[in-house]
Symmetry: C2
Subunit: 112 residues, 2 copies
């Protein structure tokens, strides 16, 4: 696990590299409609262009925070702080190397 | 959903064809160590050769029954009754058509 730099008053973002992620952790992370929506939306966005609050998902701030933590800890996405914003990128290449075909399947399937 | 013939005193086995299964249902079904063990073991067995009690998983009868129901309802496996035995087959081809690459990923990954 690696930690990003912290912003005052902000919880540190714990990351796990996909190579250290177990299959069940990856499947569980993707088996949720809110997290699927985030992943699909992120896949269509430029790296580091999307702040956490920019996703159109029907959950509150605490729940959203939890969903991002699950995705980080499953190696699906990476976050970094840019001033007051926490921005995201999909770990497309390294996740694909660890779980070939899984993101493709998730991205091409019908909306959840 | 289709039901198999029932055996006296036995719960009917509800099946769902993979084409009617949602992605999240399939991911959830596979995101469990007991169910992964069943799927992997079944993949190495001849169709209809394995009774439910023949899998080496550390759960009781009620829990095992639940795990098989989850797998049936996610289109992962099919069951039929042969006298007192309920036997299984992996729905390899039709599940692959619905979720290309997912079973391959699950079967080649490290043991859970």
């Amino acid at each position: 696990m690696t930690n990003t730099r912290t912003h005052p008053g902000r919880t540190r973002a714990v990351h796990v590299h996909p190579r250290d992620v177990r299959l069940i952790t990856a499947l569980t992370a993707l088996a949720d409609p809110v997290r699927l929506a985030i992943v699909r939306d992120l896949a269509g966005s430029t790296d580091w262009s999307r702040a956490c609050g920019s996703f159109d998902v029907p959950v509150g701030k605490a729940a959203l925070s939890h969903h991002f933590a699950v995705l980080r800890e499953a190696g699906v996405l990476e976050q970094r702080d840019e001033g007051a914003r926490r921005v995201n990128r999909l770990r497309r290449q390294e996740f694909d190397e660890r779980f070939p075909g899984l993101l493709d399947l998730v991205l091409r399937d019908e909306p959840a």
